[in-house]
Symmetry: C2
């Protein structure tokens, strides 16, 4: 790549701030694979510099952009949009809008990040809100699930857009040329479900949009990895994701309880502990850090607020992959010329 990528990072967002975010970015930078990518670090200069000094970073790849303002973790989206100017989150997105950076990463407040992203970057085509993506670990790899919370009400056109965006995302991030896509429903027959899924199913069966449309899938198909991309409305997707997260916690708690239950179990657990630890990391549907907001005119990746440096590095790598893979342009091309009615834009109602 002739022009090195520039990634803009909100160094203040999330539970941990620069002491975790900066080493994470440095880790991603050291991993390479995107030429000599550069990084803009937005936030409190003194704290960021201190964190940088504790790493072995090649200093010329990092540029600190000072601001003392941050978006509070409990800020309402509307408030963040009206009052967020000059915060580290705002400035991180602003760098993308201005063309200085190719992608932004933040571990801050999801609702605020989405609101500011929509305001500064705007949506592709006639989309109303970005879709939130979950990368869900499965028996055979990772399934892309969207929307997991931004769009509570989705008509058929919205679901078709998710299919197109999800396929573009999956292609870019996993190198699958023609991802298989399914619509989440209560059964696999064409007549199952409500009007929105049946109409979206009809449209996707008729037009292919460079994706391999599989038809309806059911909840258990997510973990099975039946398709690469599972499309659903943000209400159902959010409930499914959180239900799975809850079950993963339940499973780990049961496993712990089981393996400390009696002497034999304790002994077994001790012997097998290395393998069990390795497994634990795969069990949570949120284990894969880095969730893009799809449908914006730029790349914005949300990291978990509580991500460790490794998680931040994953989110940064995802931002690099999406920016260098031209996902935004691809989504714009596919959505271009499609019909579609405006969706719901009431930020307060969504999970984000």
């Amino acid at each position: 790549m002739s022009n090195p990528l520039v990634i803009s990072v909100d160094a203040m967002g999330g539970d941990n701030g620069p002491p975790v975010i900066v080493p994470g970015v440095v880790e991603a930078a050291a991993a390479g694979g995107f030429g000599d990518a550069r990084f803009l670090l937005h936030g409190d200069a003194a704290t960021i510099e201190a964190a940088l000094a504790r790493t072995a970073a090649r200093r010329d790849r990092f540029e600190v952009r000072h601001t003392s303002l941050v978006v509070p973790s409990d800020a309402k989206p509307g408030h963040a949009m009206r009052r967020g100017k000059g915060t580290s989150m705002w400035n991180a997105i602003e760098s993308v809008r201005g063309g200085e950076a190719s992608a932004a990463v933040s571990a801050g407040n999801t609702g605020a990040l989405m609101a500011i992203s929509r305001l500064l970057l705007r949506m592709v085509g006639d989309l109303e809100r970005p879709a939130l993506v979950a990368s869900w670990p499965t028996l055979s790899g990772v399934t892309t699930v969207l929307d997991v919370g931004a769009n509570i009400l989705c008509d058929a056109d919205r679901l078709v857009e998710f299919a197109i965006m999800g396929a573009a995302f999956h292609r870019a991030s996993h190198g699958v040329p023609r991802p298989t896509v399914g619509i989440l429903n209560v059964g696999t027959e064409h007549e199952k479900g409500h009007d929105e899924v049946r109409e979206a199913d009809r449209i996707l069966r008729e037009r292919k949009f460079e994706l391999d449309y599989h038809g309806f899938v059911e909840g258990d198909d997510i973990a099975k990895g039946t398709v690469d991309v599972v499309v659903t409305d943000g209400f159902t997707g959010n409930v499914a994701l959180k239900t799975a997260e809850g079950l993963a916690r339940f499973f780990r708690a049961e496993l712990r309880r089981t393996l400390t239950g009696d002497v034999l179990a304790q002994a077994g657990a001790l012997v097998a502990s290395g393998a069990l630890r390795k497994m634990s990391a795969r069990l949570n549907p949120s284990a894969v850090n880095g969730s893009p907001f799809l449908g914006l005119t730029g790349v914005v990746v949300k990291s978990h607020g509580g991500a460790d440096a490794q998680g931040i590095a994953n989110a940064v790598r995802l931002a690099q992959t999406l920016a260098s893979g031209g996902v935004v342009a691809e989504i714009a091309t596919h959505l271009d010329g499609r019909g579609g009615s405006p969706g719901q834009a009431d930020t307060e109602r969504s999970v984000a």
Copy 2:
């Protein structure tokens, strides 16, 4: 109890038929707790008699009602309703309608069972379709989740009905006098979600209906056991349940893979195998067998098609509990006098 309960059983439904269903019923009968409950066994007399002969059953508690007709496992609900007369499933429900039995149990085709139940037993009040209930294992016990697939479109009145029915069911089956109830949503604030959940939330905050209304809950609250009863529309509930079932299978597969991965893990697994086996049974949200159809004028309990004798016994015990606990009358009382608009009645669209 002066009049012993009579439970009507479709002995032919499910994957296994009389060789598994009959021993299951006999096991429930032997467990007692409901006086000298009696059982009507509908289906092929020769096969049922042969299965009975292999048990130590007190023969006077079982009455065989012969029919050679069965509802095929792949029958469409509409077809089962029009052509199901005289089948073992139909006759099992008919015994409840006629007053001969207090409850019916079937492991047959869910859609057919619901269609025939609606036709013969009718709905309480202005309900359109029964709600399907899942009894979901949690860290602290069992959470009742409804609807998990019968009612795809649910307005606020429907959700309020689920709250009332779910609380009555949970009270009867778990002995909790005033169950806590939550509505499943994408966040816990009153303004989150779509109109239907927000309106149902408003109604339940104003009127208490002998339940302890907690407010909105999220997906991870199900496994956490935050409330006794989780209310949701049949689309979301079905996706959540199947997503969890898929994840539970994924866990078990990962655990197996982990514990056979290397010699140390294998040794650990061998030592801890007893404890791990015990745990496995708790991990599946469908582990608790017996799902009632709530809202009918009689008790109908659906068993998994693949249930073993122990599972059938659980379903039969649930039928006894609900019949002796007067759940139908309680639901009728609570729903009586409530407003409410007719819901969707298109059987083909639902999961069942």
